[in-house]
């Protein structure tokens, strides 16, 4: 079936994205409040949210934030968290392979987990307009930047101490993401335990950030990939 790229499709993406804002705005507010807590100005917060547009990697980079910032550490944090986006574009090839120029590269710029998941669902339901992804992405991008800015302003207005329970939101966000990724005990417990153990061991060896995180992530991913390969071999007759 022919893939098109129209204003109508873009507008459908914008409209279908409105409920997603419910999940994005609280996360953006948290990133804004934490950016303030780490000493970022409003302009820096808006710049980061607009350019990076990836909540988990922003939170992680903010956790590692120092003054002056360790550029290599935050770039590695962004790489490790966002490497999961590499296969997203490939999985959207049913639309992206038909696009070129600004349509392709701007669609990729605004692709996040939410817009990816919704676009796959819409494609399965028969959507043939590739502008759907861009419309959805632009709306979520605007919601993200605006809510991060609002979080920064809100945090400045009420002057929160660093020990305020609101800052626990960063940890809570990662706990919630982790739970959302849960598939089942046999698949998930071994790699998750390996990840936690390797990360804590690297921290105990006093390796600098983000090495403990990297050690944990790759230890768990290696084990997960090996388990997957073994299961695939076992499934073969």
């Amino acid at each position: 079936m022919r893939v098109v790229f129209t204003w109508a499709g873009m507008w459908r993406g914008v409209r279908r994205g409105v409920p997603l804002l419910l999940g994005i705005i609280p996360f953006g507010l948290v990133v804004g409040v934490i950016s303030l807590g780490k000493g970022l100005s409003l302009a820096e917060t808006l710049l980061m949210s607009g350019l990076v547009f990836a909540g988990a990697s922003q939170l992680l980079a903010l956790e590692l934030w120092s003054d002056p910032p360790d550029i290599l550490a935050v770039a590695i944090a962004a790489l490790v968290v966002n490497i999961r986006m590499v296969p997203l574009g490939a999985a959207l090839s049913f639309w992206l392979n038909h696009l070129r120029g600004w349509r392709l590269w701007s669609s990729l710029f605004v692709t996040v987990d939410h817009s990816f998941a919704l676009s796959v669902a819409e494609h399965r339901a028969g959507e043939r307009d590739a502008a759907f992804l861009l419309g959805l992405g632009i709306l979520t991008w605007m919601g993200w930047v605006a809510s991060a800015g609002a979080g920064h302003l809100l945090g400045a207005a009420v002057a929160l101490p660093p020990s305020h329970p609101l800052f626990f939101a960063a940890t809570a966000t990662f706990v919630a993401i982790l739970v959302a990724l849960w598939r089942g005990p046999r698949q998930d417990i071994p790699p998750w335990l390996a990840a936690a153990a390797a990360a804590l061991a690297a921290q105990a060896l006093r390796l600098p950030a983000p090495l403990p995180l990297l050690a944990g992530a790759f230890a768990g991913a290696l084990l997960g990939a090996r388990m997957e390969a073994r299961a695939a071999r076992g499934a073969r007759p």
């Binding site: 100005s41 820096e44 550029i71 809570a172 993401i177 959302a180 084990l223």
Partner: protein
């Protein structure tokens, strides 16, 4: 509205790396076929990454943070809504701090 040069550089580095993941990954995977094990490794990276993060974050906090994380996880299992889960986690933390933990 201040923009410090070192902070701006760090943000630019993050932005470039992130765009490379989004667009560069697509371009590479469109052009070449990656070995199955690399595919599997990429597919299996997200959950262990967050598991490592949570383990490190909780190792630097107290028992109240562990309890609030359990509340947050339970909320996510029950309602599957990030906004609600984060809210429950922060509320649990506030409650535990108020109770003197």
């Amino acid at each position: 509205m201040t923009l410090r040069w070192d902070v701006t550089l760090a943000i630019l580095a993050m932005g470039i790396v992130t765009y490379l993941c989004r667009a560069g990954g697509y371009a590479v995977l469109r052009a070449v076929k990656t070995p199955p094990f690399v595919d599997a490794l990429l597919r299996n990276l997200p959950a262990p990454l967050f598991a490592a993060y949570v383990a490190l974050a909780l190792s630097r906090q107290d028992l109240a943070a562990v309890a609030a994380s359990l509340a947050c996880a339970a909320a996510q299992l029950r309602w599957r809504n990030f906004g609600v889960s984060i809210g429950v986690g922060v509320a649990a933390m506030a409650g535990l701090r108020w109770a003197g933990m």
